[in-house]
Symmetry: C2
């Protein structure tokens, strides 16, 4: 049955939708023949979600635990009803449905991270063992289920768990960048020293080659200095991403007065659409990875200024995205140091 | 000064943003050298905005008039603070700034429609003459200002005003379709008998040629029959666009079990993202024209089911969009009849 691939058999309410849209899904641990059962070790709650929960419970660890237990009990998944966001999890493969045995490259006992959101992953929590507030991590005793369409990656043995998770969390952005950017392109990266931004900058620099140019935009003098040191950008500019005219003028100046071929938005704040759109040339590409992007602000905004540019939403998945992102960390000592310092 | 092109000189608050983002802009009728002054005849209020105002004022025409006057007085533009949307206007060119005299193809006295949103157009209303509630139209005595980047079109003499406005309102969709769709493509159009959908279906059919296929999705038996009669689609299916599995199964069946190259979303209801994404082939293109599209639902949704597809936001502007859309109406008697019946 076609729906089983996407976990439609798990939807309790409302009918006819997929698990992510559903309010409630079944977290039954008796898996079907095309599902995988995971013995869960830890949840990495999405940052927006964890911050909201922490604030709502005044930082009280016991109350945070209860709130998370309650959500999962109610919805069958860790899908924060306020922020609408989830996160990812790590655990050990406990059982593989017989239809998937030949299709997957994992074995029982393998340690994996899921690459699909917790907002669609059936989850049962028996007990919350510990909460690490500074890294939004929740260690649990529990089980989760992956559908046939579910994405996962075996945790690499040569990188620490936290390092791998930090990279995998934003793997789509550098992978899409690697496919999008061509030799000779001029690329503007907004938020170029953030988690996804710095990976995109590294990847873009590699792709544009000696005839192209990467300009990174950051919000603080400290980030500017650090980003310059990495060598990932030809130019680094300091500007407020919510001020499109300031961004336009500084970005063009850094590109010899020319408009850009591609701009990549990795700034997780609202109202940065026009700063991404204005510096582009005719038929240039605006790539939005920021989850704070507004569809209407981008589309009406581009129309409003008569910019004939392509507006792409950053799909978190593209083939090989986990491998591409992990490979970056392996091949660049500078990137690895940045990520180890911040997340490991 | 670079900002003048985009009307930044008109922004009153907050500072540093563009007119659309601004809460208040100046509607001073003393235009600068790169602006155009329009003697306004009528506003075509955006449907979402007009409906909201009508409801809030209980349909009372005098109260609606006062509310519109109040918004424009407060903000210097007809930018509905509740819906965030605007509309367009028609009027006569009264004055052309001297820097634009050689750059434009219009003359004083020409009747034009603006193609940029009222949410960024400086507007002064002296008097509201009449309100046509059924077509969201407000006839006024007033003046408006177009910036150098502002888009407009001379109203054609061979089409009625209402017909031209209805087409121009959604001109971006068929124009982008004409540039996107290639011979041999299979194309799924969601909402294929709506205002923008039927234009897209016509254009897609023309582009795919005899080796391609256009499948139109509609929500009612009546629309299905009407759309079949146009001949714009190879197949027409009846399905609920908020039920992705229903859409997936019916759409694939209509395409000989194959996934589509391109899907175009023209359904103005929420939660249709997955219905647009699921029927696509690997590396297919989902094109979202619906203003009800959610950025997070599209991006997290595609990732959630592991679909490696391109997610495009429909830019309302592309070069020649007004001409392309008007040309469709001229060349297809069937399209013209549909639009005349509905909007003229």
């Amino acid at each position: 049955m076609i729906g089983y691939k996407y976990g439609a058999n798990r939807v309790i309410e409302p009918e006819g939708v997929l698990p992510q849209t559903a309010f409630k899904i079944s977290n039954d641990t008796n898996i079907s023949d095309n599902e995988i059962l995971i013995d869960v070790q830890a949840l990495n709650i999405d940052s927006a979600s964890f911050t909201q929960i922490e604030k709502a419970q005044n930082g009280d660890v016991e109350k945070i635990k209860k709130y998370i237990m309650d959500i999962v009990e109610l919805r069958g998944k860790m899908h924060n009803p306020v922020t609408g966001s989830g996160g990812m999890l790590i655990g050990t493969v406990e059982k593989i449905g017989k239809n998937l045995l030949k299709k997957t490259n994992i074995n029982i006992g393998d340690k994996i991270a899921t690459l699909v959101s917790l907002t669609l992953t059936p989850l049962k929590i028996y007990r919350i063992k510990k909460i690490y507030k500074d890294i939004d991590r929740v260690e649990i005793d529990g089980k989760a289920v992956l559908f046939e369409s579910g994405l996962y990656v075996k945790l690499p043995s040569d990188l620490s768990e936290n390092l791998a998770l930090a990279v995998l969390d934003v793997a789509g952005a550098p992978a899409q960048t690697s496919k999008l950017v061509k030799p000779g392109d001029s690329v503007l990266i907004l938020g170029a020293f953030g988690k996804s931004g710095v990976l995109c900058a590294y990847e873009a620099k590699k792709r544009v080659g000696p005839t192209g140019k990467v300009v990174g935009l950051v919000a603080s003098e400290k980030d500017k200095e650090s980003l310059i040191k990495t060598g990932f950008c030809n130019e680094v500019i300091l500007a407020n991403a919510v001020k499109p005219l300031e961004v336009l003028s500084k970005a063009l100046e850094a590109n010899n007065g020319k408009e850009f071929d591609i701009s990549i938005n990795c700034v997780n704040v609202e109202n940065t659409e026009m700063s991404t759109i204005l510096p582009l040339r005719d038929e240039g590409i605006a790539y939005f990875f920021s989850m704070a992007t507004s569809f209407t602000k981008a589309t009406l905004g581009a129309e409003g200024v008569g910019k004939d540019v392509k507006l792409y939403m950053g799909n978190g998945y593209t083939k090989g995205h986990a491998e591409i992102a992990l490979q970056e960390i392996r091949e660049s000592k500078i990137l690895r140091e940045i990520f180890e310092k911040r997340y490991a």
